[in-house]
């Protein structure tokens, strides 16, 4: 769990949303036993699995890409990589101690002044910088903890209906990670689909009525052998990274060695990699700054549209995702103009899960995308 999560706990109940009933602030809350887990394995020390790393990075650069689904063999570092992400994320500014991580404008917009009161101005606000939150949604979570519910302790002791925000609140403007996402309960999937589509969480239960922003980058991982993902949820993910067991012995030796080194002495290992971590963080930050300047020429756009058409992709989400991702990739490469080369690098990630599934199709979706891409670019001899 991240720092923000615990920060949110401390102030849970305070300033609870724009809702009507739950306005009273709580007294000081009892500190809960929330032990921070040891620092994660460094992102940059992860060997191979470039597809997954790249798609996570692109989502940091542009959260509108819509998240990543990482599917693949067990024991290949899926969750290690996602959990390592927190350390390379940039900082964001939020209203101090705000459980929903809102920006000043968001806050002002939501907390309309009461009648007769002076309107709040940005000057009244104190802000703070926090790292982009990464919130872990465990499979055993119940709906009330995901969406938030009334704070039982306060309700029992003082009869106050205070809203206790859930994981969706904590993940606003951050990442929401679900390991074994293909095993997630149907009911929670419904909640997620709903919130992901609207960007806000609406709670109407136990006599409280709250709505708060919940825009997050959805990251899921799992092993396809354990079960399929609901198609609607699959479609929600911007990118789909595939991950397979590395068969190169040297690389595997390296993985084992680094793991042992890390286990032997966390601190020393983290220190050894801190330069790399900072370098990557800087690179991501630069890309984020460059992103608004990146443009895509019309002919590239046309080619992208043709590619999606030839692959028979329904709807426009495919085109939108591939375009955004290509922009982010160009920015990450330090380029201001998107070329078809950029598109080529990320087309598989953006489209793989959007191809219509044919039960008897044996060709890998990635290959199919490459083949169509070559055709669009006029590179391929007709097949």
């Amino acid at each position: 769990m991240t720092q923000t999560a615990s920060a949110a706990k401390k102030t849970a109940g305070a300033k609870a949303g724009t809702g009507s009933t739950a306005r009273k602030t709580s007294g000081p809350r009892k500190a809960r036993t929330k032990k921070k887990q040891g620092q994660a394995y460094p992102f940059t020390a992860i060997v191979g699995q470039e597809e997954m790393k790249l798609s996570l990075i692109l989502n940091i650069i542009d959260p509108r890409i819509g998240g990543v689904l990482v599917m693949g063999h067990r024991g290949t570092g899926k969750s290690t990589t996602v959990r390592a992400l927190a350390e390379v994320l940039p900082m964001i500014e939020r209203i101090k101690d705000d459980v929903y991580n809102r920006t000043v404008p968001e806050y002002l917009e939501a907390e309309k002044p009461k009648q007769g009161r002076k309107a709040l101005t940005p000057e009244d606000m104190t802000v703070e910088d926090i790292p982009v939150p990464v919130v872990d949604l465990p499979l055993g979570a119940t709906e009330d903890r995901v969406c938030g519910t009334i704070d039982i302790e306060q309700a029992l002791t003082s009869g106050v209906k205070a809203f206790e925000p859930g994981l969706l609140a904590q993940s606003n403007r951050g990442f929401l990670y679900i390991d074994e996402v293909n095993l997630l309960d149907d009911h929670l999937v419904d909640v997620l689909l709903d919130v992901a589509a609207s960007g806000r969480n609406v709670v109407e239960r136990e006599g409280i009525s709250i709505r708060h922003p919940a825009r997050f980058v959805l990251v899921g991982s799992g092993n396809p052998e354990e079960g399929e993902l609901r198609p609607q949820l699959l479609d929600r993910f911007g990118l789909h990274a595939r991950i397979i067991t590395i068969t190169d012995v040297a690389k595997r030796v390296e993985i084992v060695k680094r793991r042992h080194e890390y286990d032997d002495d966390h601190q020393a290992f983290l220190k050894k990699w801190s330069r790399e971590q900072k370098k990557l963080q800087k690179k991501i930050l630069n890309a984020k700054e460059l992103l608004p300047e990146v443009t895509m020429p019309d002919d590239v756009l046309t080619d992208v549209a043709r590619l999606c058409m030839q692959l028979g992709i329904d709807g426009h989400r495919g085109e939108l995702t591939i375009t955004r991702t290509a922009h982010a990739y160009a920015a990450f490469s330090g380029d201001k103009e998107v070329t078809m080369d950029h598109v080529r690098q990320i087309a598989g990630l953006a489209l793989r899960h959007r191809l219509r599934k044919d039960p008897l199709e044996t060709m890998d979706p990635g290959e199919k995308i490459d083949r169509e891409l070559a055709k669009v670019l006029g590179e391929a001899e007709e097949v």
Binding site: R74, L139, E226, R259, P359
Partner: protein, 619 residues
């Protein structure tokens, strides 16, 4: 109580447990063994060789999610007026052992939670208003009888050592076991032995940080993992640790041949997905390592702060495995593979024919997801949500009551409308067992239809929670090609190569289907549906499987067998659909008869498309 040192036989299992005691980061030991082999006795005796006060928690098979993960302790909460947290079984095992008997019968949501705790070293509790992290680092000891079914691969992957499957056959050993159980061993000896063993393990723990492994040895182990097709990286790490722990137990600082052999046997070979001799062609099939985009972090990896010795590029040149390790591997594989590995990874196919199992664990096997308003009697009351909904009204209700009666006796006033009922979700829906006639000339066609139908069913979002299994029958005996699964990928892979032609052992298929159905039911599948795709003419009897020299069964005998089996299937509540693929209108009406026997529906679909079959099964 039988002590660790008293247990006879199961040497490899004992060795594995000792390695684990030396290095708990090996994660655990799985012991597959038949009933009565003393596996659970051994697992429980493991506590003997651990330091005193090490937690040893046994996980009951019917554990609820609340108890597993933890939650609010209701009694204490009410008494104290503030939230009191109750730790779950996973957290209670922290720093010690979590023992699961019959690991393969554990329900899948419990397995998921155990997996999650193992990979995190902690349990995240996000339930009923609670948000906590409980430490949960434990060694998992799991025993199971392979005839009960498989343990989920994802779980096995997180457990360091898997003891090869053996049945205890040695007569003398059995006798000794019995003697031990009866307590006929000198107890003083036992105590001394235990003390010695504990000392040995303590010494090994101290030795462990000083054990080193050469670069060659490590490469050798990993090369073996690659050639055995071991998935993921965890096994590599476990293998290295196991070898080092073994060296530490022998008070050496260098890893030697025996250590490597032991690591191969306990860690890598049981995870093999293919035989090493297929290596060359398989390697070509492997997709090449992905090309790195020019500007990804990989390029940064190269100039990473690195001691030179670990630069991957340098090692590229000396690709071959050191001969010694290759020999070791072949030796380990030869001795272990034919019997043992098959038993582990293909346990489902080798199931005993012993027939019925114990009763299914039923009651609330679903998973508690949410609560909703409801009548007290209509289900299980969700206490916390009920309290939550009652809480805000306490003050006003008390006032009201005071006004009415003058005094208030109860601390808490709960009205009918506060009651919240737990809403469970049934864990799994229907299991569709496809039985496809792979005999005769039209087999290929039927197989293709079945494959399509299977994929179709699995991809249908509507049947999200359903599972599909596939049995093919031809020649003498039916074969379980796909154990119950939800994965399209897996189904496709398993169905890709299928031999056809030969006799029609229909009875064998029904029998196998019945066993699969029974097993699935113990794991919480609520409904089973047989989809039999055939022309209905069974001509090989079940009896011929068991009695080698039995005379060829007559038509009547086969008929009788089918009749009996069908009746049992029907009686056990399995629904059936028979899909007749007989092209000839003059067919002898065998398939409709089969449908009748099974009490199922009959479809005549000589040119059935995959979708039609899927629809028939769903209807």
């Amino acid at each position: 109580m039988i002590a660790f040192t008293d247990i006879v036989g199961m040497d490899l299992a004992k060795q594995a447990l000792m390695l684990l005691a030396v290095d708990p980061s090996l994660g655990g030991v799985v012991i597959p063994a038949a009933v009565g082999s003393g596996k659970s006795t051994l697992a429980r005796a493991f506590a003997d060789i651990l330091p005193e006060d090490t937690p040893f928690v046994e996980l009951p098979l019917n554990v609820t999610e609340d108890r597993l993960i933890g939650g609010v302790d209701l009694e204490a909460t009410l008494a104290k007026g503030e939230r009191v947290v109750q730790h779950g079984v996973l957290s209670k095992a922290h720093g010690g052992v979590l023992y699961v008997d019959s690991l393969s019968l554990l329900d899948s949501s419990a397995v998921s939670h155990i997996m999650d705790a193992m990979s995190r070293g902690a349990v995240l509790v996000e339930r009923e208003g609670l948000s906590e992290v409980h430490e949960s680092e434990f060694m998992l000891i799991g025993t199971y009888d392979p005839s009960d079914g498989d343990v989920r691969m994802g779980l096995l992957d997180r457990i360091g050592m898997i003891v090869p499957f053996t049945t205890q056959n040695d007569y003398r050993a059995r006798k000794l076991i019995v003697n031990c159980v009866l307590g006929k061993n000198g107890s003083e000896d036992t105590e001394d032995e235990l003390k010695m063993l504990k000392g040995l393990i303590e010494a090994a723990k101290e030795q462990l940080p000083h054990v080193s492994m050469t670069q060659e040895q490590m490469k050798g182990l990993i090369q073996s993992a690659v050639s055995l097709g071991v998935e993921g990286n965890r096994a590599d790490i476990f293998a290295v640790r196991a070898a080092k722990a073994s060296a530490a137990l022998a008070q050496r600082t260098d890893v030697d041949e025996d250590d490597l052999k032991l690591a191969l046997k306990l860690v890598l070979v049981p995870r093999a997905t293919r035989m090493p001799e297929q290596e060359e062609e398989m390697m070509e099939d492997m997709p090449p390592e992905e090309e790195m985009p020019p500007d990804t972090p990989e390029t940064e990896d190269q100039d990473a702060p690195d001691d030179n010795s670990t630069d991957p590029d340098e090692e590229e040149e000396q690709e071959e495995t050191p001969d010694m390790i290759e020999e070791l591997m072949m030796e380990a594989v030869e001795t272990e593979l034919p019997d043992n590995i098959m038993n582990i990874s293909l346990a489902a196919k080798k199931k005993s024919r012993s027939g019925s199992r114990g009763e299914a664990l039923n009651n609330r096997r679903g998973r508690f997801v949410r609560s909703q308003e409801g009548e007290m009697r209509s289900g299980k009351v969700a206490i916390i949500p009920t309290l939550i909904s009652a809480a805000p009204w306490q003050e006003s209700r008390k006032k009201e009551r005071k006004k009415k009666y003058g005094k208030v006796n109860t601390a808490l006033i709960i009205n009918k409308e506060d009651v919240r009922i737990k809403k469970f979700r049934d864990k799994s829906g229907t299991l569709y067992i496809f039985m496809v006639d792979a005999s005769g000339s039209m087999a290929l066609n039927r197989m293709r239809q079945a494959k399509g139908a299977v994929s179709h069913l699995l991809q249908n979002a509507y049947v999200h929670r359903d599972q599909v299994s596939l049995i093919s029958f031809r020649g003498k005996e039916a074969q379980l090609l796909l154990p119950p699964s939800q994965s399209v990928d897996r189904a496709k892979r398993e169905l890709d190569v299928l031999p056809t032609g030969g006799g029609t052992p229909l009875a064998s298929a029904l029998f196998l289907g019945l066993e699969t159905a029974r097993q699935a039911k113990t794991k919480g599948v609520s409904q089973v549906m047989f989809v039999v795709i055939t022309d209905g003419r069974g001509n090989i009897s079940l009896k011929s499987l068991y009695e080698k020299d039995a005379p060829k069964a007559t038509k009547e005998e086969i008929e009788e067998e089918l009749q009996g089996l069908s009746a049992t299937i029907f009686a056990e509540g399995v629904a059936s659909v028979v899909i007749d693929t007989q092209m000839n209108y003059l067919s002898r009406g065998e398939a409709p008869k089969l449908a009748e026997k099974l009490g199922g529906r009959y479809f005549y679909l000589p040119n059935a498309k995959a979708e039609e079959i899927a629809m028939a099964a769903l209807s």
